[in-house]
Symmetry: C5
Subunit: 321 residues, 5 copies
């Protein structure tokens, strides 16, 4: 589905044009065309492939649902494939954006991805001086927008993690907590797999030999790379935290067991000692003088209670109760 | 055992020929011959070695059962050794495919591998424009087909893992679950060892200096490399998940023990308190007035039941029961 | 907020000047100007951007609160972004310092950072021979001062860790201890994320190709890099220690449980044996001669006490009590 | 102790010669001499050092018992130091082989190593065409033979590991099993330390700049390197397996404890309930009608047995027994 | 404190000279001077700095107590900073040695380090042919001597570790054992941090571009590097062993608990069964014929003993006792 088709002319003004007029603009030296598709059909994409001379392998990647994010250089164009995360209720949803960039065109294809990226078009209007970098600026702005979408998702996970830590140190809902740690870890991994390959990909767009298209705009791609590295280091910190938390949690649970055990043992001791006394005075010996005392029974109860209280206090002092 | 011997001529048409006619076709500049063997005998392979001038070390590798997958450049030809996974019931079965590629020939040897790769031949007919890359195209198509065989196997393991996670969080069959986690981990490792060395091998076929044969077809090998990297990252995620799961599992088991312990302790307390009462009224003191009351016995039973019910409720409230 | 604006002239003397006079000094070949801002407003920074021709991306980084430390080379200037740790009570507080360095200017912006860095100005007076390196010397001195701020923070953490280890081996406050290990680990990670990217950044300022500005002063940046590496290796050692400590802690807790269990079991045995005797002599058999002995009861008590003492001694010897 | 001294002449025939005649053969362009020593004395080696101009540091390494395997290039010769594993009963024994290779000589010194390597001499006769590579062929053949000695040792360890896994999942001899896992891990580490440095060493003998001596024979050293990598990946897989197994084992033991606990608790409950009934009917209330019933006693026994059976069944159903 | 000041002249003879005469010898082309200081005062070192033109940063490093070992190239000289371990009772003590090497001088400064390194001077006399490498030989000999000091320390730790392993598998002093594992781990880390940076430092003195001073002596520094790598691999093996041991230890403790539990449970069962019998015969039913049998009591005791013995045997057989 076509979202927009814009031409940026030599003076860097922009105008919407119908798809059919693209060829008319392609050959003017300073022009470039940006075609934005959403959930493109194979036909639409094939038409674009013919129009812009896109490489077969890159076009196939657009339709491939399981894919690693990548920045690839082909003879005629660059191909960038990005994953965009979004929180849908409790789930992290991953959309896909493919960008083809040639000297005079940009083709962006959004798939399974609800978020409009038109903010980029507005930005292009706000920063006309950046349009001097040509079509590659649109790719930069799209990549930058996509990478920025990761920050709020990472923040939500970070908050979740903080809540889990607090619950952990208060031994609340230990079982449920484990499940949620596991879930956060899973989501962190999903985000990492969407980001890690990009760090490598964008690092090829600045420093050393860069594709001719990118020439002069390296600082902008270094900036995107830097954001990716920041996200990566945040995710790494979270992974590390979760790993430690899982181990600490086991220790806390074990400590808790130990405390429960001591409490039980203390009560057990108190009760068993009482039982021994009842056992002794329940014996059937003929000559047990205290059994015939007038106040033998209350004395017995007092002795039992006394022992119990004495033990209770000792255990209390030893912090077992 | 010979499966097929095909010649691709200058116009890229293909024709089956008998082995003996190979030399006749080898010297035409645009021709190349593809010989496909299955479970080749040493004699068959030696004949091919003489025919195509294959390197001794590469030929020996074909028969070596324990081998790392590899992509090796020899003076006269490339040698690719791949492992192909397949699910046989519960087991992952590993077949082997060796490919020799020279400027005018391809020799593929399938060993211990049930899956026919003739899909490749059909593909060559479907994509005649790719045959312009010559013999190396067949190697690409074979490699691509082999790597694609990994995806369904990885998917089955992923499903298995998901089932194990659900069982884990429901504390079902903990012991059996551990065994299956262990088994999945083993299979993941088998696949990783079949893939990891290939990532390295195929990365030498694009970017930087590539063997002359591959020249021009780098994008295709980058695509294969990309698939390998995707599989690797999926397998790494699974390894990570399993490692976490094993730790989480231990915590869950320990939590479970704690819950069982509390339950037992609570019941124990209820029973022991009851025992103390029976002990007290079982004592043989002469002066125990309540023993002689008319309703002393039912009162005793009521007191015991009352204490038991009271304790039961307290434990229930504290979530021990 | 402007802190100071100093000009260093050809003879390397320094003088405070008002901001408006900067342009007058910028074009003298041997002069350079150092402008120091604190918690700069956007307006202040934009004015400086215009004055010194700072790159848009670098200026944006100054205001970005979540950022990785970095050393970046732009066409016209270097940009260094550092994080400064400080202990506020129990918390590690992270301030930020951004430094822009061109051939004839230094702009330092301190944000959210209480510590004055004017020590650097005094140092410049003490080491006038180093001013021969020009503006880059100020950047070096600032970086050096920032990195030196890490040492006392790391030392405090190290002391804390040592205290926790001692507490751990004495099984004191196990639960609280875990929480504090976790907290130290968290702080170590915060420091690492403030340092790790710098190791990479400063390594680009010595050895191999260095930015023209830095030329001749490489040894000084190698020294800063060396301090960063020292801090990193200290933090790594602490991470490793904490990881081991958490595992050892679990073992110690488990050992402790085992000891408690043995103690309980021993007491349990002593009590239960006593109970058996009272049970036996509580039976109602008609013919139990000892029940009618004159000293049957004291004998019974002696036997019970004897058994208890015997068991107590055995358990004592086996180190269960 | 001299084992053999062989000269290979221009036509690649070989002949035993006495040590004294070596100089006569050294200067013929196509000749090379192979001297094989076993448990060489310092004197023997010093004589060889003078004869062939061996570097002092390399000669010292021969006598150094604790040493990392290595492949070193000196100005005048290559030096290869290898470790050879062998199973002596339950122990892995490590022998040492040092090889010096110059353009016209090979000196091999076997130390603390029972296995004869004369297979290499026979191989040289079987593969005379490979002798065209000169003295370096002998080094290759020796290295190849040494690396091949690792395979059976690794296989034995692999079998041992498999047996331990089976025992682990059947909870047999848990304590002994741990000890054997630990032992296998130790042996795996010994082998790894004998192999890892070689991977690095042999990788310098093919690809990129190789020592002049090796020129042309790179494929053979790549093959050795490949075997080393295969062994390494097998050992890595074993390490990984053992690490997982140790963790899984702890879980299995903990699960086992849980099962034992449940079983005990169930029996405990059955017994304690019985005890309560005996306690109740052991009380001394005057008015306890059932005590005087004709069949009160058998009824009591039946009730107790009934309760016990009922509980037994419930626990059985809940899988606690 | 000056230890010695030696001049090595063109014929490589050596002679002690007073400090004041150094300048006289510095300009002879073949001479070099070795000044050895111990616990140098700042004044002494400043004098040397002036004499030999040492770089400010290197001189500061000498007095810096917390420092990473390093090998640094300055314009005028090399600077090597080493840490020397020594066992003082149970503690590992770390001394420091700084070496400055220029074309015609060596300055060594020993700090906090009791071990004399004069062995190096004697070695120089024993190996006059090595003095052809000039001042750098002294640096080599000092470095070699320092690295050799690590071996006995590592050996002591290795022995300690072996003793701990044996104790671990015999479940002796589990708590103390943990503390000692922790202590060994700590010492291993101290040694690693003293060695790891050196591996990197010395690798820059051979292979690839080396400092001019070192030219020709690369093999000697490769040898030192090799010793460092050997030590590193030993320390890594120990780290790995300790990590495994800590995990195995937890399993062993848990297994031990399980065994104790089973033993307790078995005794518990025996005692409780006995209690039930005494409970039954302690009931007050009117019609309990066996109570009135002549040998009811001994029969009861026999039954109880019989049950106890039967259970004892069953538990013995099941290996619970």
């Amino acid at each position: 589905m076509l979202i927009s088709c814009v031409v940026y002319n030599g003076d860097r003004e922009q105008a919407d044009i119908p798809l059919e007029e693209i060829p008319a603009y392609l050959h003017a030296p300073d022009n470039f065309v940006w075609v934005a598709l959403q959930d493109a059909s194979e036909d639409e994409l094939r038409a674009m492939q013919k129009q812009f001379g896109l490489h077969e392998l890159a076009v196939e990647d657009v339709f491939n649902e399981v894919q690693r994010p990548k920045v690839e250089e082909y003879d005629e164009h660059l191909f960038v494939y990005l994953q965009v995360p979004a929180y849908h209720g409790e789930e992290v949803h991953i959309g896909r954006i493919s960008i083809f960039v040639g000297p005079n065109f940009v083709l962006s294809v959004r798939q399974n991805c609800e978020q409009a990226l038109l903010g980029v078009r507005a930005r292009a209007e706000r920063e006309p001086h950046l349009l001097k970098y040509g079509s590659v600026y649109v790719m930069y702005a799209l990549s930058d927008a996509v990478v920025d979408r990761f920050f709020p998702v990472v923040d939500i996970l970070d908050d979740e993690l903080e809540k889990l830590e607090i619950a952990m140190f208060h031994n609340q809902e230990t079982r449920k907590n484990m499940e949620r740690f596991y879930d956060v870890k899973y989501k962190v991994n999903v985000l990492r797999h969407a980001l890690l390959p990009l760090a490598d990909g964008f690092s090829k767009l600045y420093g050393g030999r860069v594709p001719a298209l990118v020439d002069g705009a390296e600082n902008y791609f270094r900036d995107v790379h830097d954001h990716i590295m920041l996200l990566n280091s945040q995710l790494d910190a979270m992974r590390d935290t979760i790993a430690t938390a899982i181990q600490v949690n086991l220790s806390l649970i074990t400590i808790d067991h130990g405390e429960v055990n001591k409490k039980l043992a203390a009560w057990g001791a108190i009760l068993v000692v009482t039982t021994i006394f009842t056992g002794i005075w329940g014996m059937n010996f003929t000559y047990m003088p205290e059994l015939h005392w007038r106040f033998g029974y209350p004395m017995a109860l007092l002795i039992m209670a006394g022992c119990a209280i004495y033990l209770y206090r000792r255990f209390k002092k030893a912090d077992w109760l």
